[in-house]
Amino acid sequence: MYHVVLEEELTIYQAAQLHARCRDALKEHNELLLDFSRVQEVDCSIVQVVLWLQAEARLQHKHLLLSHYSAALIEFLQLTGFVDLLKAEVAPQEGS
């Protein structure tokens, strides 16, 4: 399982970079884990990238795990109604 630990700040400024990083990771690995534990700031562009990655992984029959949601991310997903679409498969860690 290949781990991608996401940065604290994830906004449109990081979207292109994150997209490239995920695309490459998906190319090389069959199992991917996105660790959101450090994420403090997030916007819609990032959610899009994750949604895209999710769809791509499904298409390529690869396994994608979204994990360790930070409080900031959970709040964002609840606000924007994505919480059902992007379910974390590993519970958020306390204090991380």
Binding site: I12, A15, H19, D43, C44, S45, V49, W52, F82
Partner: protein, 709 residues
């Protein structure tokens, strides 16, 4: 204080704050910003807003409030001050400056309150601060909607470019959540492409929202004012859902129609049967279209304004006229003090002499202090140049960096004001004609971006200001050809490089195809020369072909009172500016011998000498003992032969009458303690004369000049 005076004070203060703001912003474009600088930016807008509120300048209040909000977020670290935001803030600065020019025209001011850049500013805000909230008294933001709130159907079809334009759909949603209650929200993802078609910076997300809100449709509409260009926002009351639903399905492809249907099924407003109904009977939904400009007063600005006023000011503003009067009086005091000193000496009473000396020293301190009040740092004008360079270089498509040094060099306020235009002219000229286009620079083995230096420093009683560039340099041959063509010089004349460069300042050296003229502006460099002349300054050019050009402006330090050095020639007394005097020595017989050639060998350095008695045609018999005063102006030195050295003396410069204005060697007059008039010698002119006459001697046929050495 009457209101008019207070208003003037406000305007003055606001301009200073804006200048400070501009300086910081330009600074930051090239480097990291400190916390203090961000605070200063915030304070500038905050204070302007507060003070404008006191004067009822609502337009300024409402606009500066927007900028302040953004800066507040920058200060709190919520958003980063990147180049884009800097540029936006610079434009805000310009706009506030514009508005300050219209304070006497309130309707105009109010019309300026909501320019397009205000919208850009709001993009940096969480929507809680958007104007819909600010400008509407009826809707307190943070009160939860009462249970009776109306329900609204919102369909937010954000355009592809919203993210690129710096707007995040989630910030609208966040704002909605603060205004009312988002009862249900369902994202619509049908547009999200797969594979390589996905562009992470395009927006594919759309949202269907059921929203409880007790404000008006209009207010709800205004929330989305800034995305209307490329987005389709549908808003209608939930009770009209069955009639209006089909509108939601217009203009979208099947996949999205399906997704929208599913969304509303999920939300529970749509029942399987409804969606298919035709919609012709439907009253038009509020398809938010035109942004509405609302301008109203921000009442909260008032108390803040008072708080801002309470910040203690470190400066007192004094009317320039009062200061001029004071300086005149001190001039008289200096003269009267010198007279008293002379009398005391004559009376031979030691205690009287002692007390007049004490008074004289106090007078000197008062003089220095008063004059320093008129002195301002040249940074005041240098500060404008980063902006000028930035704008001009953008306009011309050249990358130009500006380095400024010596901004703390002090200069008389009246000179600083008059210096701004000629300097501006030279700098623009340097960028326009000095700095080559990028391709040319690279071909010449230089860096792609040009460099312009602004430098100021004090040098022997004058202030030197240099404007240098690393461009192509002046084209000596072209200037000469042009000057000959224009009849400014004859083809036979032999001219030194610097004399040729100086030709560009000639009034006849004008306009079309000119080597150093600003294209399209039709203003020649003679304007610069004229302005510098008025300040009793001089301007010189150094240039190396292919390496760059330096304009060097020498200006006298001050205009009113100087430290003088008195010398006597026969019965007459003359004054030299003390700062120009380097040293004095006795003209011994040995030295005099060498003086046959009007030259002085000063520790190996050959200086031209000028016998003032002869030069000024005074006709006094030669004194028993003669002295040489070595003076300097810029890089040039010369020795002046005088009879007596009378020492330092505070000199109040009195302008010469109109009749004497054209005397080149005399720059002014002063009144001595004895009541006699002494003339102040113009060192620059004397040195020029001495050097020119030396040069002329060297132009003699070789056989003669061979004797000299």
């Amino acid at each position: 204080m009457n209101l008019e005076v207070a208003l003037q004070t406000f305007l003055e203060e606001a301009r200073e704050l804006l200048a400070e703001m501009e300086r910081i912003l330009l600074d930051v474009e090239s480097s990291e910003m400190s916390h203090e600088q961000i605070n200063a930016l915030f304070r500038a807008m905050h204070t302007i807003k507060g003070s404008a509120g006191l004067f009822g300048l609502d337009g300024i209040v409402s606009f500066s409030h927007e900028a302040e909000n953004v800066l507040d977020r920058v200060r709190d670290g919520e958003i980063r001050l990147d180049a884009q935001l800097c540029a936006l803030l610079l434009r805000c600065h310009d706009h506030v400056k514009d508005m300050l020019g219209h304070v006497d025209d309130p309707p105009h001011l109010l019309a300026m309150a909501n320019p397009p850049i205000a919208a850009e500013l709001r993009n940096y805000l969480p929507l809680a601060d958007s104007p819909a909230l600010l400008l509407t008294d009826s809707e307190p933001a943070d009160i939860e909607p009462p249970p009776s709130s109306r329900k609204w159907v919102l369909s937010l079809r954000f355009g592809e470019d919203v993210l690129r334009n710096g707007m995040d759909p989630s910030s609208f949603i966040r704002y909605l959540a603060m205004q009312g209650e988002i009862m249900q929200i369902v994202p619509v993802l049908s547009r999200l492409p797969l594979g390589t078609q996905f562009d992470p910076e395009s927006n594919y997300l759309r949202f269907e929202i059921l929203f409880a809100y007790d404000g008006s449709e209009q207010n709800l509409k205004e929330v989305f004012e800034f995305v209307l260009d490329d987005s389709r926002i549908h808003i209608f009351a939930a009770e009209d859902f069955s009639e209006c639903f089909s509108q939601l399905l217009a203009d979208i492809d099947e996949a999205e129609q399906l997704a929208v249907r599913q969304a509303w099924l999920q939300i529970g407003l749509l029942h399987e049967t409804v969606g298919a109904l035709d919609s012709d009977s439907c009253p038009p939904a509020i398809l938010a279209t035109e942004p509405t400009v609302t301008s109203a007063v921000v009442a909260e600005a008032l108390p803040e304004g008072k708080a801002a006023k309470a910040v203690e000011s470190r400066f007192i503003k004094v009317e320039a006229g009062k200061l001029d009067n004071l300086i005149n009086l001190i001039g008289e005091l200096v003269i009267a003090g010198a007279a008293a000193n002379l009398m005391a000496k004559k009376s031979g009473q030691a205690s009287l002499v002692e007390s007049t000396v004490a008074i004289a020293s106090l007078i000197e301190q008062i003089r220095a202090g008063t004059l320093s009040m008129r002195m301002v740092q040249i940074g005041e004008i240098f500060g404008r140049f980063p902006r000028v360079v930035r704008d001009v270089s953008k306009e011309l498509g050249k990358a130009v960096t500006l380095s400024v040094s010596g901004s703390d060099t002090e200069l008389d306020k009246s000179m600083v004001d008059k210096l701004a235009d000629p300097l501006m002219h030279i700098v623009r000229n340097a960028i326009d004609h000095g700095i080559e286009a990028e391709a040319q620079r690279l071909a010449a083995g230089k860096t792609a971006g040009g460099h312009v230096w602004l430098n100021a420093f004090h040098e022997s009683g004058s202030v030197v200001i240099e404007v240098a560039d690393d461009g192509r340099g002046l084209d000596r041959e072209r200037i000469l050809a042009k000057a000959i063509d224009k009849g400014l010089v004859s083809a036979e004349q032999t001219l030194s490089d610097s004399e040729i460069y100086q030709l560009i300042f000639a009034p006849g050296f004008s306009t079309a195809e000119q080597v150093t003229n600003l294209s399209g502006r039709g203003v020649g460099m003679d304007v610069v020369q004229k302005a510098i002349d008025q300040l009793r300054g001089t301007i010189h050019i150094d240039s190396m072909a292919g390496e760059g050009t330096t304009f060097r402006i020498h200006l006298p330090l001050t205009l009113a009172i100087i430290d003088g050095f008195q010398v006597g020639i026969g019965q007459a007394t003359f004054v030299l500016p003390l700062e120009a005097v380097i040293e004095c020595m006795e003209l011994t017989q040995a030295l005099h011998h060498e003086g046959v050639h009007h030259c002085l060998n000063l520790r190996g350095e050959v200086l031209p000498m000028l016998d003032l008695n002869a030069f000024l045609e005074l006709g006094y018999p030669k004194g028993k003992r003669q002295n040489v005063v070595v003076v300097r102006y810029g890089d040039s030195k010369a020795g002046l032969i005088v009879d007596e050295l009378l020492g330092e003396f505070q000199t109040v410069i009195k302008p010469m009458g109109a009749l004497f204005r054209n005397l080149r060697a005399i720059s002014g007059s002063t009144i001595l303690g004895s009541g006699e008039v002494a003339l102040i010698l113009d060192v620059a002119a004397l040195i020029r004369y001495a050097m020119a006459s030396e040069a002329r001697r060297h132009q003699l046929p070789l056989g003669v000049s061979g004797n000299v050495s």
